[in-house]
Symmetry: C2
Subunit: 233 residues, 2 copies
DNA sequence: AGCTTTCTTTGACCAAGATCAAAGCTTAGC
DNA sequence: GCTAAGCTTTGATCTTGGTCAAAGAAAGCT
């Protein structure tokens, strides 16, 4: 890879745990790669030959049931870490929701590098714990929340995580952002159908809480009411 | 703590990554503790002062919404690791579903011990990754599966994880086991209501797939059909 | 541009599961 | 043993969100 020191996620990705010279070593193992929207990086059941950092773009992890149903189990953003280090195969499919740029490592070389850099491993552990917390929050949504609550929750999360550079130390929420995906995928994230998603968007829009100038753009007009919707009914 | 070397989960818990002398050190930091069914070990939002290994019994992690709804986000069994090492507070409540025995460490002492034992940390990372996989499988269930599929999935999982000693190398399934909990909690695990859970139990029983000699006991009569139910419709 | 394809919205209807209510069973206490 | 307090099951009805179908809008192509 050319140069980690100028990488836009240098200080947010797991690489942040490394000193300059260690970073150089890791840098030799990885390479930058772009993937097009819709392209699948890892298939479920693959020996999962790679792990990666997301430099830019949005990717999804999904579980696909045999009858064609798909559940998106995670949406990953810039600086997130992708893949299954140490042993196991990837139990889910990893697909780009937008054009994306990632920094790829072969799993075996990453594994052995990690084994020798406890700080990196510690960072990875903390990230995985955070990811687990996020997954469990999502479970609560899928298990207990109504359609309206789910849409509101997703919009709040996106306006939080989709910040242009993502690294503002104070939490910066965007009031206008682009949905990284079409209605079908939103429904797969939320465990709803496309029609229900559409109806709920219309409902929240008519209530004056959001605006939808075009199919991809969301403008939040009343954040506190949106948050209230996300929390209860 | 008295003696790790005779601990029943010695070879399955994260302690398995330690040599005898290291184990002795860790052993000095921890202490055994019993908790009664229904007792809560950690509250959400707590500074989460402890982490623990489960020696025996079943515990649940739950998220409680303000209006009283509860979603159980994980069920933990013997040898599982509980708590949030490194920094963050516990975002969920940890409660015993059965009487249980656990091995507790103060978080600060565990954290510093872990920092000095990369093998332990590596083990913890692998466990967390596994736990993340489990959580995401659960998400698929909550997002996409029908009531019948959910019950069947839970029964298959319980018959797998509730093995008496849990350490058979070949996968041993139990055909007769005790539900660790009442119908209410089953419904909170599955994202259903208590009535739906009851009706589905009746349905599967009448189909001859399981028997329910009393409210807590389940006997699996036709595992392949149960598994088929768990996978699709 | 005009035409096709794909995505989104809206409507009418349906069904799975929730809610409300009551009756059976267990369990625990006296 | 008897009674009271919980669980659990069953039934009747209602609601939310799913399904089926068609009309509108964008985006792509020639």
């Amino acid at each position: 890879m050319s140069d980690c020191s100028t990488c836009v996620v240098r200080n947010r990705a797991i690489c942040a745990s490394l000193e300059t010279d260690e970073l150089q070593l890791l840098s030799n193992l990885g390479r930058k790669r772009t993937i097009k929207r819709g392209e699948t990086l890892l298939w479920e059941g693959d020996p999962a030959p790679v792990v990666a950092n997301i430099i830019d773009g949005v990717l999804k992890l999904s579980v696909n049931l045999q009858d064609g149903r798909e559940q998106i189990v995670s949406v990953m953003y810039a600086s997130d870490f992708i893949g299954r280090p140490f042993g196991k195969e990837s139990p889910y499919r990893v697909t780009a929701m937008t054009d994306a740029e990632i920094c790829v490592f072969s799993r075996s070389s990453f594994d052995s590098f990690a084994k020798e850099h406890p700080d990196l491993q510690n960072k990875l552990l903390q990230r995985t714990l955070d990811e687990l917390d996020r997954a469990r929050e999502w479970m609560t949504m899928l298990g207990k929340k109504s359609a309206t609550e789910r849409i509101a929750t997703l919009l709040v999360e996106l306006s939080d995580r989709l910040t242009v550079d993502g690294c503002s130390p104070t939490t910066l929420y965007l009031d206008r952002f682009e949905l990284p995906t079409d209605r079908q995928q939103i429904s797969d994230i939320l465990g709803l159908t496309i029609e229900t998603v559409s109806r709920q968007f219309t409902r929240i829009r008519k209530a004056g809480i959001i605006e939808l100038p075009d199919r991809r753009t969301v403008i939040i007009r009343d954040r506190s009411r949106l948050k209230a919707l996300a929390e209860m009914a």
